[in-house]
């Protein structure tokens, strides 16, 4: 600790350069925090207990292919199934293509499987009773200033109406809230009655996008999933039943391998960071050769000088990294409420202890890597040569 002031002073010997380097470290760890949050969300980092008791059944070939609605009763009849509902991706656009949010047609018992969503009883009843009724999450309603009673026109991107029109008009009958902050992204969804979709659409009648199955006992998930998939075995609509989290990961996988993309971006960012901070540290030590020689003259050993330079490098990374991760934490919390849910979970999870631990290890590791060469140079310098400028 007694060396801290010396290390701190050396680090800020050239303030402008250090501040710019700190900003680049901050940017790298901000990106790390944000991408790690997305990656964790899509690799099942969600701790939603409710999610663990639900299964999703989709087409085995592709989740974009429909399944017959006739499977509903057959799935419901399977032992271990407490309740079944279904939904269909609609993909509507509100006024402008940039106003895109998840919109789905759902069965009338859909809300029974999501007790974590809070919807007043009268609004819930209206959703059941009104064919063109729709409910939206509070965040989405707030974004577009919608209120109960509004008529909301959506442009269909997949399903035109029987008369060829792409405009579907819905009556907003309810606004639901999600109390769990980890699932707040689900408040960005739009739901309407599947019956309305099926009745008015031009094609694909009598089909659904996927089934949601509530388990009577979550310990029986494997057996129940096997039994459901056996129902369609060797048919033209074979199914794949998996947990909600796996479904979310697969949903995101449509856009690419999230892990690979995140890993590639983080890898590129840190490679650049190593070059940048490595260059800064090398320059800083090169400028300070006579000062390091003086420390040695005063009695600092080779190892002390090595440790001082490494500590300076690690301090640089930790200062910038902690600021970056803290900022990522703030941004993730802000974004989680505004980004739409990708499937049943939020597309981002908070920057938690695991991310911090991983981040801190990375800061120390990068600090040691970029400090290694300058530190060894400092350790090896000969006092007499360094003082005489050789």
């Amino acid at each position: 600790m007694k060396y801290f002031q010396l290390i701190w002073a050396a680090l800020f010997r050239r303030k402008t350069r250090t501040i710019f380097t700190l900003l680049s470290v901050l940017a790298a760890f901000l990106l790390f925090g944000l991408l790690n949050s997305v990656h964790s969300a899509f690799t099942g980092a969600s701790n939603s207990v409710a999610g663990a008791s639900r299964l999703i059944t989709v087409s085995k070939i592709s989740m974009t292919l429909s399944l017959p609605k006739s499977l509903h009763e057959r799935i419901a009849a399977q032992p271990g199934v407490a309740e079944v509902t279904y939904a269909n991706w609609f993909g509507g656009i509100y006024q402008d293509p940039k106003n895109f949010f998840p919109s789905q047609a759902v069965a009338d018992n859909f809300l029974d499987l999501y007790p974590e969503w809070e919807l007043p009883a009268d609004q819930r009843k209206a959703f059941h009773d009104i064919r063109t009724g729709a409910i939206v999450g509070a965040s989405l309603a707030e974004k577009y200033h919608w209120k109960v009673g509004d008529k909301i026109p959506l442009q269909a991107t997949i399903f035109p109406q029987k008369d060829g029109s792409n405009t579907w008009t819905f009556d907003l009958v309810g606004i639901y809230h999600v109390t769990d902050p980890n699932l707040r992204g689900q408040e960005n969804n739009f739901y309407f009655n599947w019956a309305y979709l099926d009745e008015a659409r031009q094609f694909d009648k009598g089909t659904v996008g996927w089934y949601v199955v509530k388990l009577a006992d979550r310990n029986n998930a494997d057996q129940v999933a096997g039994a459901i998939d056996a129902l369609s075995f060797d048919s033209d609509h074979e199914t794949k039943t998996e947990s909600e989290q796996a479904f979310t990961a697969a949903f995101a996988g449509q856009f690419g391998d999230i892990g690979l993309i995140v890993g590639a971006i983080i890898g590129a960012v840190f490679f650049t960071l190593v070059l940048l901070t490595g260059n800064t540290m090398a320059q800083a030590v090169r400028e300070r050769v006579p000062e390091l020689a003086i420390l040695k003259t005063l009695g600092f050993t080779n190892r002390s000088v090595l440790a001082l330079v490494l500590a300076e490098s690690v301090l640089l990374l930790v200062l910038g990294g902690v600021a970056g991760l803290a900022l990522a934490g703030v941004l993730v919390n802000a974004l989680r409420t505004s980004l739409p849910a990708m499937g049943p979970t939020s597309p981002m999870v908070p920057v938690g202890a695991a991310s911090w631990l991983q981040g801190l290890c990375l800061m120390v590791l990068v600090g040691l890597i970029v400090g290694a060469l300058p530190a060894v140079r400092g350790m090896r310098l000969k006092i007499v040569d360094a003082l005489s400028g050789r």
Partner: protein, 231 residues
């Protein structure tokens, strides 16, 4: 007075590529405790090399070098560093203060290697700065001080850990006449009143006058009478 520095047949050879340059040639020298020695000689005579060897900054090629009975030529690099920290104070021509630290923190530097608490280090640095007449400049950084003041801070740093030996390499070489006189008077005071043994390299005969005795080096060898060099 007892002998502090005992040098026997000390040689230093530098390898410069394929060339072998003998900078010191079998030097023999005794310096008593409490002495104040000025080392003079033309450029390239080996005086700074001899000073570096006595200060433990470099190792001899051959010969014996004993300081207060300790054979420092036998010490490893780390052991030599620890020995320097405990026994030698250094004053250089260009002060060599750390620019990002205040005068107070520069003076405290050697004490970081001791077991003293922060408060004790601060107290000792204050005493050293007061001794060199710079107590009121403790919070100033080197760039805010004149050359003479910077050299005083360097002297405070050299004496703060109460070393047996002070070595100075051209301590007045970068100063104007008045500042040089002040610095020499300060070194003389440290020698006379505080019993510090001082060995100083200088080109300046006026600076050498403050020493108790002057030694002359020429072509790596100690010369008793400088007028013989010219002869």
């Amino acid at each position: 007075m007892s002998t502090l520095v005992e040098i026997r047949s000390l040689s230093k050879v530098y390898e410069r590529g394929k060339q072998r340059v003998e900078v010191l040639h079998h030097v023999n020298l005794d310096i008593a405790k409490g002495d104040f020695v000025a080392l003079m000689g033309p450029s390239g005579s080996g005086k700074t090399t001899l000073l570096n060897l006595i200060g433990g900054l470099d190792s001899p090629t051959e010969g014996m070098l004993s300081i207060a009975g300790k054979r420092i030529e036998r010490l490893s690099e780390d052991a030599l560093a620890r020995w320097r920290a405990a026994n030698v104070g250094f004053v250089f021509q260009f002060y060599n203060l750390l620019p990002m630290l205040t005068a107070q923190k520069n003076v405290e530097l050697p004490l970081l290697l001791t077991r003293l608490s922060a408060a004790q280090r601060k107290r000792k640095a204050e005493i050293a700065l007061r001794l060199v007449g710079l107590a009121d400049r403790a919070a100033h950084k080197p760039t805010e001080l004149s050359g003479g003041q910077q050299q005083r801070v360097a002297i405070a740093r050299a004496i703060v850990s109460d070393p047996t030996l002070l070595v100075g390499d051209e301590p007045t070489g970068d100063l104007d006449r008045q500042s040089a006189t002040d610095i020499m008077l300060l070194l003389q005071q440290l020698n006379r009143d505080h019993g510090k043994t001082i060995i100083m390299v200088t080109h300046d005969p006026k600076a050498a006058e403050y020493a108790r005795r002057t030694l002359h080096l020429d072509k790596g060898t100690l010369v008793e009478r400088p007028e013989l060099i010219a002869a």
